[in-house]
């Protein structure tokens, strides 16, 4: 590695500002994982599985396809930022209660896609839920219980004033 190509990148991760020293070609996926955000998984590395999904300024994106240099000044959310053992997000509880987790490798990406959906569209139709999870490959569950989990969490943002989207 050429040390002269190191650059600085600043962004906000789960609400706290972070500074990284990166190479221009580094993938956001690797930068986040090296920084300890191991919930961000690599399932394919080419944008086809969704295991690496994060929220970039609130929108779900495949972090394996994003150069880290591109997220300067952006806000990033990973699963570490939406729930803790003592205070899991209602969506995470719904996944647990519906049996939507098997091997768990697809789970963080899937939670974030569901999160973005329900935040923007508190009462999605079945088809809207399927569409929102279409980019999150899961080889274990057959998707049935994942869809049920999202259905079961409908309205969870509306119920929680703090999470409510502005203007709703």
């Amino acid at each position: 590695m050429k040390t002269d190509s190191i650059m600085t990148m600043t962004c906000e991760i789960n609400g706290s500002e972070s500074v990284f020293h990166i190479h221009p070609g580094d993938r956001l996926l690797d930068v986040l994982r090296h920084a300890g955000f191991i919930s961000v998984k690599e399932g394919c590395g080419d944008g086809n599985c969704g295991a690496c999904i994060i929220l970039l300024d609130g929108r779900p994106v495949n972090s394996c396809l994003v150069p880290a240099a591109r997220v300067e000044g952006c806000a990033i959310t990973t699963v570490e930022g939406i729930g803790t053992p003592d205070n899991p997000h209602p969506l995470q509880e719904s996944y647990a209660d519906h049996g939507a987790v098997q091997c768990g490798f697809c789970t963080p990406g899937s939670i974030l896609s569901s999160y973005a959906l329900l935040r923007d569209n508190p009462h999605p139709t079945e088809n809207e839920i399927k569409r929102a999870l279409d980019g999150n490959a899961c080889r274990c569950t057959g998707y049935v219980k994942k869809l049920a989990a999202v259905r079961g969490a409908r309205g969870c943002f509306a119920a929680d004033g703090a999470n409510r989207r502005k203007g709703e």
Partner: protein, 786 residues
């Protein structure tokens, strides 16, 4: 007097509780192999062959050695121990040194400071030699001029053969009213577990090796690591980390990954991490065996089956790995759960120059069930009998009916399973004849219904019985928390949760007191592999066995506290009580405190050996092949788009008699996941190789053309039908609380049910998977219906 399980209310069994592994996975805290870090850890990458066939190879590592960050490049000659992976027949080298037998075969390992440096250097390893024409199909494999990939007990390029003969089918052909002869084919199927293969290996100051990672079978891995390093197994500890799916794909081939990681750690004296990327996982790891199956079956005027002749050929790939046992399961189940008056089954698995095929959910059975259940429908069609009625007339339905191997079974429940799925999908009202007109884009979508039945021998059966035992270790701590060690793994299927429920029930301990440790070969003796839907029965019984010993201590102490006879002690949610005075109970916690103070035995190992099985492989292939069977039925409703000819599954009802559902919601999860993998097998999944698929001319033959999720199409959330899982519970006398197992059965019958539904929709029969629009188009063109 002990009450029976059915009389009393259960504490944990039969409850749809949240599995213990779930919270960490949801919070993003579960540590998988790629997440592990070690001080001074180096990274390993595998250098692979870029062609499918080459002899007298020379491996040039000099360029790779000089790449940035590279610490060491390892080839076969550096292996201190056994150079071959220990499996049934050890023909597969850890690292190729003489010949290349498949595209992606490992030739060297590169150890570097970063993963990227290791990967770049691995690409710089040069392999030269004499290329040969790779054998790519089972037909080529037997050809007189084909390359000799394997020589063993049989003819050239045959890994294994089986033969089952009961009566003489030839006597039945003349008197049969209808006889059909057909050939069916299935392709490779990729496991596509979401977490790729990965291992961490390190040595300690005592020369002991520890390997951790993604795997199904820690004891296979222990064997492989001890073998490649030439170490005693007692010096090798293997620990399973959280594993992102397996489906059979982390059964045998994880031994290669672990062997490589351990070798790199030993030769560099550093902790190492070896994580596959998706492309190499596709290229080099095992897949479902492609098959060619020829079937001749007949029935008499009354619509009763007469005889069957079945010839199975499986494509084993370049090395034998698990092919012999995959072939055995395929063979034993090939005649299905039907009453045949005579039958002959001959099977073989052959070598080709493709990645070695191995275990995949169903283990050879989905191929033979696709062929047979398609043929059964074709025969029903010829007899002009409703295919469901035809099955009802012919399936094994009583304890005196026998399987292909001459085995009688206890409470076969296919008829009940069929009735349940038929009711769910409303078969009787909806099943009508096929649309036989011209298919134009502007007509309504065409619907069809298809059914299938199957049975599945749980566990390793007679050909794997040496390994069919399991251990466990249970220890109740003084605070009443309970630690449980098992020898089978949690690969996403819910094993840890099931074991916690079994331990809780047997000890009458609250479920939240139970802690199931990760599988660790130093804590539990060899418990065999986590495969064949065997974990619930095997580890479950071993856990029960250990808990029962501890329960004796607890009952003794409880009897003292309650001042009653030990035989009078019963348990429920509250804890332990005197049957003569049920209103007072002592909690589990209290009983543990007393028992601990009384120096009672509060820990125990457990052991379970599967009931005996038999198979006369040198003779007619008769015997009690498996100790119990799951009985299954499926009905699927599909719709074909007249414009694109795409098949869309609308509804699938999938019924399985699993004895007892320990956690019903998780059982449904297994059924749903299995059904969708089965649907992928039916409709979209296929591995393409150059030389077999039209491809760019400059590519040599035998290169995998779609090693990734963009070219290999698995079903997504948009593709799912309505799935109706149906659980039947006829208790299995040797199962823990009557349970059998459910991992594999849900996948097995889906593809033939879909093929039968396509036939019911359009009156065309597709005998090769996947059932893609091209195939339907070709059939319609042949019939002049476009």
């Amino acid at each position: 007097m002990k009450e029976s399980d059915s009389e009393r209310e259960m504490i944990s069994i039969g409850r749809s509780v949240v599995r213990p592994d779930v919270p960490d996975k949801l919070l993003g805290r579960a540590i998988y192999a790629a997440d592990a870090m070690r001080q001074g850890m180096l990274h390993v990458a595998t250098a692979r062959s870029s062609v499918a066939g080459m002899k007298n190879i020379q491996i040039d590592i000099s360029a790779a050695q000089n790449m940035p960050g590279v610490q060491r490049v390892i080839t076969a000659k550096d292996i201190p121990g056994n150079k071959y992976v220990p499996l049934i027949v050890s023909d597969m080298p850890f690292l190729a040194s003489e010949q290349i037998r498949f595209y992606g075969e490992p030739v060297a390992l590169v150890v570097a400071r970063t993963r990227q440096e290791a990967k770049s250097a691995a690409r710089a390893v040069q392999v030269t030699g004499e290329m040969f024409d790779p054998v790519l199909t089972v037909e080529d494999s037997a050809g007189p001029d084909s390359y000799v990939i394997y020589e063993g007990d049989y003819e050239k390029n045959i890994f294994k053969k089986y033969h089952i003969q009961r009566g003489s089918p030839d006597e039945f052909w003349p008197e049969s009213h209808v006889v059909i002869e057909r050939e069916y084919r299935t392709p490779h199927q990729e496991h596509a577990y979401l977490e790729t293969q990965g291992m961490i290996a390190e040595l300690d100051e005592n020369g002991e090796v520890q390997v951790m990672g993604s795997m199904q079978c820690p004891f296979y891995v222990q064997d492989a690591v001890a073998s490649i390093l030439g170490l005693a197994k007692a010096k090798v500890t293997v620990i399973q980390m959280v594993t992102g799916g397996g489906f059979g794909g982390k059964e045998d081939v994880s031994s290669v990954v672990a062997g490589h990681a351990a070798l790199a750690a030993a030769l560099t004296d550093s902790p190492v991490s070896l994580i596959y990327d998706r492309e190499e996982d596709f290229i080099a790891m095992s897949k479902r065996h492609p098959s060619v199956i020829k079937i001749k079956i007949g029935a008499n005027r009354e619509g009763l089956l007469t005889a069957a002749e079945i010839y199975i050929t499986l494509d084993g790939g370049a090395y034998s790995t698990l092919s012999p046992v995959v072939l055995w399961r395929s063979t034993v189940h090939a005649a299905g759960p039907y009453r045949w008056q005579a039958l002959r089954i001959k099977s073989r698995v052959v070598a080709t120059n493709t990645a070695p095929n191995g275990a995949f959910r169903g283990f050879g059975e989905p191929q033979s069930v696709f062929a047979l259940e398609s043929a059964i429908d074709e025969l029903a069609d010829q007899l002009n009998i409703d295919p469901l009625t035809f099955r009802e007339k012919n399936v094994i339905a009583s304890s005196s009916d026998i399987t292909a191997t001459g085995q009688t079974t206890v409470n076969p429940s296919i008829l009940e399973a069929l009735e349940k799925v038929a009711e769910k999908i409303e078969w009787k009202d909806k099943f009508t004849g096929a649309y036989t007109g011209v298919v134009r884009h502007d007509i309504e979508p065409i619907r069809g219904l298809g059914c299938s039945v199957s049975f599945y021998g749980v566990g390793l059966g007679a050909e794997g019985k040496k390994l069919d035992r399991a251990g466990a270790f249970v220890q109740v701590e003084s605070d009443a928390s309970v630690r449980v060690f098992i020898g089978n793994t949690e690969i996403g299927q819910g094993a840890r949760g099931v074991m916690a429920q079994i331990a809780s029930e047997t000890l009458a301990a609250p479920l939240e007191y139970i802690h199931i440790h990760r599988a660790d070969t130093s804590r539990v003796p060899d418990s065999g592999p986590t495969v064949a839907s065997r974990t619930t029965i095997m580890s479950g019984n071993a856990v029960m066995n250990a808990c029962q010993t501890i329960r004796q201590s607890l009952e003794t102490s409880a009897a003292m506290v309650l001042n009653c006879a030990i035989d009078n002690i019963k348990t429920d949610q509250r804890g332990y009580y005197d049957a003569a005075n049920p209103s007072t109970a002592v909690s589990f916690h209290e009983v543990v405190s007393v028992a601990t103070a009384q120096r009672q035995q509060m820990s125990s190992s457990g052991w379970y050996v599967a009931p005996d099985t038999s198979f006369d492989s040198a003779g007619a292939g008769q015997g009690n092949a498996y100790s119990t069977y799951v009985w299954s039925a499926n009905i699927v409703e599909i719709e074909i788009d007249p414009g694109t000819l795409q098949v869309k599954a609308l509804k699938i009802a999938s019924a399985h008699d699993i004895g007892r559902a320990i956690n019903p919601r998780e059982v449904c999860g297994q059924i749903e996941g299995g059904v969708l993998q089965g649907l992928g097998f039916a409709l979209t999944e296929k591995v393409a190789y150059s030389g077999l698929t039209p491809s760019i001319q400059s590519v040599p033959d035998g290169i995998m053309l779609n090693p990734g999720f963009s070219g290999y199409i698995c079903p997504t959330a948009m593709d799912i039908p309505e799935i109706f899982p149906i659980i039947l519970e006829t208790p299995y006398e040797h199962g823990p609380y009557g349970a059998r197992g459910i991992g594999e059965p849900p996948l097995i019958g889906v593809a033939p049910a879909v093929a039968n539904a396509v036939s019911n929709a359009l009156g065309i029969r597709i005998r090769e998977l996947p059932l893609c629009p091209e195939q339907i188009l070709n059939e319609l063109i042949k019939q002049g219906r476009l």
